[in-house]
């Protein structure tokens, strides 16, 4: 898949049904470590569903039924006995709309570590600082840590949500259209942030925006009607796609 062939997450014959609806069909995908993988495709093609499989957020939906395998560092996370809490600490998620808790900046970022048992105020402060540094918020917010998170701009809120996730030290960041509620300038900033984060984290992003996929991602996967049509290095997908459907979508003939 990539130059050195390393794989962080691999799905094998992944199928998902919502009741009678077959949402994912035999998806085989590989996500390389410490790179940005984007999943593109028209609305309803299953990209968000696929993303939410990777930390088993679909389990929260009663009617979802999953078969196949999802290997995280070679271990199947769909196997019985997988501890959901430790899985989700390793594979965290950023949502479409910035959704900070209605608490202070500090309480938002320290929420995860605190619930996981870190109660020492000084260590928490250290975690909050490095998590805010990781998203470039520290300089702006270091004197406003007690400010209510909802008073921040949308871009800052989304960065804060990423900080909140980074604070629990995940390995993989799943991002579900993280810029769709942001203006173009804020989108540019968050894209730069993603590229920075990719030095330390494996990132999978779902996006509607093909230019975004082309700009930020190392690997691109194209989905259509629940199937993974094609995936590979971003430049190959966008310059010389192997499949006709991919080419049609990328050139804007449908979607």
């Amino acid at each position: 898949m990539t130059d050195n062939g390393q794989v962080k997450i691999r799905t094998e014959r992944l199928n998902l049904h919502y009741g009678a609806f077959h949402a994912l069909k035999d998806v085989d995908m590989a996500v390389p470590p410490r790179m940005i993988t984007s999943i593109i495709g028209p609305s309803g093609c299953g990209k968000s569903t696929l993303l939410r499989c990777l930390n088993r957020m679909n389990d929260l939906i009663g009617t979802a039924r999953v078969t196949g395998r999802i290997l995280l560092d070679g271990k199947d996370i769909l196997a019985g006995g997988t501890a959901m809490t430790s899985l989700r600490r390793r594979v965290g998620m950023v949502f479409q709309r910035p959704n900070p808790f209605p608490l202070s900046v500090f309480d938002n970022v320290s929420y995860g570590p605190r619930v996981h048992g870190e109660l020492d105020r000084r260590r928490l402060a250290g975690i909050v600082e490095s998590a805010l540094r990781a998203t470039g918020l520290w300089e702006t917010l270091k004197d406003r840590l007690n400010e209510h998170a909802l008073s921040l701009s949308p871009e800052q809120q989304q960065r804060l949500c990423i900080s909140r996730l980074v604070a629990v030290e995940p390995e993989v960041l799943l991002m579900d259209e993280p810029c769709s509620a942001l203006d173009p300038i804020a989108t540019g900033h968050v894209e730069d942030l993603m590229k920075n984060l990719a030095q330390n984290y494996t990132i999978v992003i779902v996006t509607h925006n093909m230019q975004q996929a082309a700009r930020v991602s190392d690997v691109t996967a194209f989905m259509y009607l629940g199937r993974l049509i094609e995936s590979g290095p971003t430049k190959d997908i966008f310059v010389k796609p192997k499949e006709k459907q991919t080419e049609d979508y990328i050139t804007g003939r449908f979607g």
Binding site: L60, R88, M93, R97, N99, G112, R164, V168
Partner: protein, 278 residues
Amino acid sequence: MRLSPAASQRAAVAVMWTMTAATIGVLAFVILYVLARGLPHVTWEFLSRAPESMGRRGGIFPMIVGTLAVSGMGVLISAPIGVATAIYLTEYTRKGMLTTIIRFGADCLAGIPSIIFGLFGFVFFAVGLGMGLSILSGGLTLALMVLPTIIRTSEEAIRAVPQSFREVSFGLGCTRWQTVLFVVLRSALPGIGTGIVLSLGRSISETAAVMLTAGSAMGLPQSLFDSSRTLALHFYILAREGLPMSKAYATAAVLIVAMLGLNLLAYGLMKRFHAKAR
């Protein structure tokens, strides 16, 4: 005859304004009338002394204590049970046959006349379990009576917490219980508190249910097993027995002021709740 749109608009506003004015007018009249006739008789003596000769003279101190004991006990018992039930119904179960039945049952219970609860409390707690006419019987009966309200208001408050907060919390590797404790309850607390305060108000103003369970003894209760008369019941007995109306109105005035205070508290909580959920 056909009204022009502008005229029908004016007519509608006029009708609605009249209705609103009538409602508020009647309410204000009742409250002001009782306060006007009662407040002049509310003195420190009245609040701090025990009644004499069936309430003709003296004050209402034992009734204040009794009211606080009976309603406080009712809410202290029903609040944890009700909130726990609401959490279970909203966070731990999917909508199904069983939860529908539980909700339907709660709604039915909420509509049952309080005298029926009184009768049940009398038969079950006072006689059946041998608690007699006591604060304990009265408190347990009130707990049953307000339980459905607490369940339903808590459920509403919990449901109003955005789903995304839960997803974030799960996404950070928190368990369901941690999520409930640190995210859901934290956000829903003002709403739950409002329901509890309103239930407390209902307990304080209850007459029929406590008459049959807490009894109407006028002495200062010494333990939970003593019978005790609440303010609302005291007012009822004074008014019914033709004892001095001044004392009855004074009791009513105290009740109304207490309820006003409680409702203001509930309103304040509600406002905070909505400010947060914006």
